[in-house]
């Protein structure tokens, strides 16, 4: 038996660390090949993947649904932006921790009244929250900068990193890639944390609550605490993703977090597959390529990208994809791949008695 199958058999923290490390390093290597523009798109995808992962955890593992994660993203982004604006010298790590904590707290505030709710009530409540965030950010001008938002300083590329680059735009290219690499590493850490959470005691309790809450309660799982915890983690991930996203955009503005962003997040989660790590990765990749994808569709159908239809093509495509996936492949694009995977899987070895010598 080779080491890989044995690793897959008994998944441990070590194997998960290896898996995430491998994927992160692979993605980092890819950033060296990609042009700077693609690096920025990849970085955006990494930030969104973190948010999708949090949403996926909430929906797939605890059975709750949230349309408020764009709001939690905004909370995290504003927490990071406002802090960085006043304390420019704070290391990035602490700014991210702040975004996680504040995002989590906002999740807690929404979760406490919401965890008594189920399905539609909860979705409506979280929708009301994300609908309120944008006008609030616009109204409290003195704190949030109103419509104009807050500018965030872009990252400083370390000296040693710039040596990899030469030519005309060396400094700019180096910065684009350094930012992308940072986003990838942040996403890697977030994925590692979530991979462990999936298999922790809380993760198992969460699945039991989703599948059979009466049994869970009998076994001593505190239902409302478990559900609240799911919400807080989801909001904390959204907060981190939002902060990272704003850092990439170099500003925090209200219009970055419209309700439609929650719909986009939901679409990406459903497309990738609810409740899986790979689903969040796929969702992030689709997000990275969505601008390209949309311009391809526009080119194929002969739609002028600057026309009304062209400008709204992304909304139409994402909405239609969300509906179709939910109706025909509710387990996501991954589930479409399962029959194919079966084709390539090694046949089980025949018992010795049947083997011809």
């Amino acid at each position: 038996m080779n080491w890989w199958t044995s690793l897959r058999r008994q998944e441990t923290t070590h194997s998960r660390l290896l898996g995430v490390l491998f994927l992160t390093l692979l993605t980092l290597a890819i950033t060296f090949i990609l042009p700077p523009v693609a690096d920025s798109e990849l970085a955006g995808g990494a930030a969104i993947a973190i948010v999708i992962l949090g949403l996926s955890w909430l929906t797939g593992w605890s059975g709750q649904i949230s349309l408020g994660n764009s709001g939690f993203m905004a909370v995290g982004a504003y927490a990071a932006g406002i802090w960085a604006h006043h304390h420019a010298t704070t290391p990035l790590f602490f700014t991210f921790v702040l975004a996680i904590v504040i995002g989590g707290i906002s999740g807690l505030i929404i979760a406490i009244p919401s965890t008594r709710l189920h399905g539609p009530y909860l979705a409506g409540m979280t929708l009301a929250f994300s609908a309120a965030v944008t006008p609030l950010a616009q109204n409290f001008t003195s704190v949030t900068g109103g419509e104009g938002g807050i500018f965030m300083n872009s990252l400083v590329t370390p000296k040693w990193f710039t040596h990899f680059f030469s030519g005309q735009n060396a400094a700019i290219n180096a910065n684009a890639q350094w930012t992308a690499d940072l986003a990838v590493v942040t996403a890697g850490v977030a994925f590692f944390f979530m991979a462990n959470l999936f298999h922790s005691r809380s993760g198992r309790a969460m699945r039991l609550v989703r599948d059979n809450d009466v049994a869970a309660e009998l076994m001593g799982v505190n239902l409302s605490r478990t559900r609240t915890m799911a919400f807080v983690v989801s909001a904390a991930f959204a907060g981190l993703g939002g902060a990272l996203y704003s850092l990439l955009e170099a500003s925090v503005r209200p219009e970055t977090f419209p309700i439609t962003l929650s719909i986009t997040l939901l679409t990406l989660m459903v497309l990738g597959g609810i409740g899986t790590l790979s689903g969040a990765v796929i969702g992030g990749i689709i997000y990275s390529f969505s601008a390209n994808l949309v311009s391809h569709v526009n080119a194929l159908t002969g739609v002028n990208p600057t026309s009304n239809l062209g400008a709204n093509m992304q909304g139409i495509i994402f909405g239609v994809l969300l509906i179709l996936t939910m109706l025909f492949a509710p387990r996501g694009l991954v589930s479409l791949a399962t029959p194919m995977k079966r084709l390539f899987r090694a046949r089980p070895q025949k018992p010795a008695s049947e083997q011809v010598h």
Binding site: I65, P113, G124, N312, V320, I323, P330
Partner: protein
């Protein structure tokens, strides 16, 4: 008397009621769907917006306002029936988040389509009634003929829906199939047809609310029903989501509270007023203000 009518408090009461009846209408339409199919229709506002756009395309070209209203409502009803048949029917018996996700997707499609076809800029529809406030002895009374039209139309629709459910054979069948689908089916009620009719009825009610909103100073744009949907959902949830009377009362409460927070507290926190009310109500009565039995909520 005229001094009282023109006081600030009456201004806010009239304003709150005018907004509240819209919330009540949309909340009522949500409750009709919820009762029949146990789906919270997240695309309710967007469907009504879309129907209004379709109905109002011809308004500048010699077609009268009332004809356009009629077309909007009919288009809305057709859209409602088609949605139930195509998008919702395959999902009966599936986990409750599936229809939510599908309707959220439909909301996205409708808003993007509307922006693609009619652009995102606000369209103002010439209202049939004046928005100018009445005067009495030189004082402004904070009522215009448009506000009166808005309130009267909304209330007559609510009465119509109530009468339909209470006094007609169709209403009895609708209630029966919502309450006990199996028994109704055995007794010869065509339940699946009733579910479609419920959606048609609900979409019609929603479309009237959207037409009123589009005719007023708010205007018509692809996302113009977003905020109204959220407030109306809160109204329906405050009322318990099961109760039509609760939905209407909830709508009026939300409309008034919103207006008073705007006027007496701070316009900055007004976006939060709905959530504040919902949280308070859920803390006190998780099953909603107007639900008689406390069903188990998990």
């Amino acid at each position: 008397m005229s001094a009282f009518l023109s006081s600030a408090i009456m201004h806010n009461i009239f304003g709150g009621l005018a907004q509240g009846v819209i919330y009540s209408l949309v909340a009522l339409s949500l409750v009709i769907i919820w009762q029949s199919t146990h789906v919270l229709n997240f695309a309710q506002g967007a469907m009504a917006m879309f129907a209004t756009y379709v109905g109002m395309t011809e308004i500048g070209r010699g077609v009268g306002y009332w004809w356009c209203v009629l077309i909007s409502v009919l288009v809305g009803m057709a859209l409602g029936g088609a949605t139930e048949r195509v998008l919702i029917r395959p999902l009966y018996g599936k986990p409750e988040i599936n229809p939510i996700v599908v309707m959220v997707g439909f909301l996205g499609v409708l808003e993007a389509l509307a922006a693609a076809i009619w652009t995102s800029t606000t369209r103002n529809i010439t209202e049939p009634f004046s928005q100018i406030y009445f005067q009495s002895n030189g004082h402004l009374v904070f009522l215009s003929s448009f506000v009166i039209f808005q309130i009267v139309l909304a209330i007559s629709i609510m009465l119509f829906v109530a009468a339909l459910f209470r006094f007609t054979k169709l209403g009895l069948q609708l209630r029966a199939s919502a309450l006990a689908p199996e028994v109704s089916r055995l007794l010869g009620v065509r339940v699946s047809r009733m579910l479609t009719i419920g959606w048609i009825l609900s979409a019609g009610v929603g479309s009237i609310a959207a037409v009123i909103i589009a005719s007023g100073s708010f205007g018509l744009f692809p996302t113009n029903m977003d905020g109204i949907f959220v407030a109306s959902f809160i109204a329906a949830a405050v009322g318990g989501l099961e109760s039509p009377i609760g939905a209407v009362a909830g709508g009026l409460i939300i409309g008034l509270v919103e207006q008073f927070i705007l006027a007496y507290w701070s316009p900055n926190v007004a976006p939060l007023s709905g959530i504040i009310i919902l949280v308070i109500v859920l803390m006190i009565r998780p099953q909603g203000l107007f639900t008689k039995h406390a069903s188990r909520r998990v």
